[in-house]
């Protein structure tokens, strides 16, 4: 384990996980917003919006995340010229966030859509009968109840996102798995130990997330 006695190595390890947390935080927020919007599209009475929502889900849910992240770099950045920052590291970070968000939003959308299906049709009818518009109905009645019923699956999606953030390494973002690879390459005699430390760090970060979301799900569940 003396690989982690070297401060430079500890630094690489810590920065790797800090980057994972940053990627996860930004992507989770964007994916949640986008996922809610996509779910709203998928249940809307406007055919174009429904098609847009369905198209997004089918495209991003069924494409490997590695491809999406690579596309963000070679397609969005190199070919199309989308640039978030002149600093290559910052730019790559946001390109990765873009790919992670687009991908994760598809799963968030489907979770919320299944949540919408758990809201009894009478809730929407009562809202319509009061004179609420479709968007008010969605915002005030249906989505609040739908979101509260899918807290647990959203937790699973967040956990998956945290692990998926390692794929940002393929476009040069210095996240945890890249740090691990670098450490193994220069400390071949301690491969198993290095693997174990990185794996257990993920487990230690994510087990509490699982428990927290279960507790939250119980607290927020809409009792009928």
């Amino acid at each position: 384990m003396d690989v982690f006695l070297d401060p430079a190595n500890r630094q690489a390890y810590l920065e790797g996980f800090l980057t994972i947390l940053k990627l996860t935080g930004a992507s989770a927020l964007l994916a949640l917003l986008l996922g809610v919007l996509l779910a709203a599209c998928r249940v809307s009475p406007v055919p174009v919006l429904r098609a847009l929502g369905a198209g997004w889900v089918h495209l991003f849910r069924n494409t490997p995340l590695t491809l999406i992240i690579l596309f963000c770099f070679f397609g969005l950045y190199s070919a199309v010229g989308v640039e978030f920052s002149e600093d290559i590291h910052v730019n790559n970070y946001w390109l990765a966030v873009t790919g992670l968000s687009a991908y994760t939003a598809a799963f968030v959308c489907e979770a919320i859509r299944s949540g919408i299906n758990t809201v009894p049709v009478g809730q929407a009818e009562a809202a319509r009968a009061l004179g609420l518009s479709f968007s008010q109905n969605l915002r005030l009645i249906i989505l609040p109840q739908a979101l509260r019923s899918v807290v647990a699956p959203l937790g699973s999606i967040l956990i998956a996102l945290t692990k998926n953030a390692t794929i940002a390494g393929v476009i040069g973002v210095a996240e945890a798995s890249s740090a691990m690879k670098a450490l193994i390459e220069s400390n071949g005699d301690q491969t198993i130990a290095i693997f174990a430390v990185f794996a257990l760090t993920f487990v230690a970060l994510l087990v509490p997330v699982g428990y927290a979301f279960s507790a939250l799900a119980n607290r927020l569940v809409v009792r009928r």
């Binding site: 009562a126 009968a129 009061l130 609420l132």
Partner: protein, 247 residues
């Protein structure tokens, strides 16, 4: 009572697939009138009631409310619905909101009233239906009868021109039916225009201005309650009454 028609259904037809649920139904409800719709299950009573605020669309015929054809969709339809109170069999209170918030929602979000004004009226209405002390609870914490009274308060909060009741007591435990009917009876006495779909013959006798009897999607006959119950004209109504009244 003035004979000023508020709700006018003219030759309304409705199919669910091959099932002809409303057959040429014509019914006029005057302002201030209470029409109780009775009939066997599956006779189209609920569909008729739900068609009046377009929760069910119709295939032919026309429905007019307050002199205007029902709007097909959009803002105009939402506005119409805000003027017609609806009470459902299964209450349908918003499960994630307190009783008070349920009653305030329409006035605040649809009418744009201030929260203070809406709150005051909501509390007065909850008091009127006898559940002011339940205002801060969630629907699930109330009994069925209390939930249905809250739902009536929610509909009244919009100060509707008419109220539709779709089997409001059918999902209630027997001991809670009375408290809901009591609220409905007092509304009827105050001159609210009401269409009430129900199996409560006692309510029909006591509160209705007119009883409309439906069977197999047709409005078979309509008459004041005393006349209808004493002397039903159609064979179908006689048969129905003999089954529901002999107990």
């Amino acid at each position: 009572m003035s004979h000023e028609p508020l709700i006018v259904l003219d030759s309304v037809n409705k199919w669910f697939g091959d099932l002809h649920v409303l057959r040429d139904v014509s019914l006029t409800v005057d302002r201030g009138e209470v029409v109780v719709v009775i009939g066997p299950s599956g006779s189209g009573k609920s569909t008729l009631c739900r068609a009046v605020n377009r929760l069910e669309t119709i295939n032919s015929g026309s429905i007019r409310f307050d002199g205007k054809d029902l709007p097909a969709e959009g803002r105009a339809l939402a506005k119409l619905r805000s003027e017609v109170g609806m009470v459902f069999q299964s209450f349908n209170l918003f499960a994630h909101m307190s009783i008070l918030d349920n009653v305030m929602l329409g006035p605040v979000k649809v009418r744009g009233e201030s929260k203070a004004v809406a709150r005051e009226r909501a509390l007065a209405l909850l008091d009127r239906v006898g559940i002011a002390n339940q205002a801060d609870k969630l629907p699930v914490q109330l009994s069925g009868g209390q939930q249905q009274r809250a739902a009536i308060a929610r509909a009244l909060a919009m100060q509707p021109k008419a109220m539709l009741f779709d089997e409001p007591t059918s999902a209630l435990d027997p001991e809670m039916v009375g408290e809901v009917l009591e609220v409905m009876t007092s509304l009827a006495k105050e001159g609210m225009t009401m269409i009430v779909v129900t199996h409560e013959m006692g309510f029909a006798r006591a509160a209705a201005d007119r009883v409309a009897f439906m069977a197999d999607g047709q409005l078979v006959e309509q008459a004041p309650p005393a006349e209808f119950f004493a002397n039903p004209k159609s064979e179908r109504a006689r048969d129905f009454l003999s089954k529901v009244l002999q107990h």
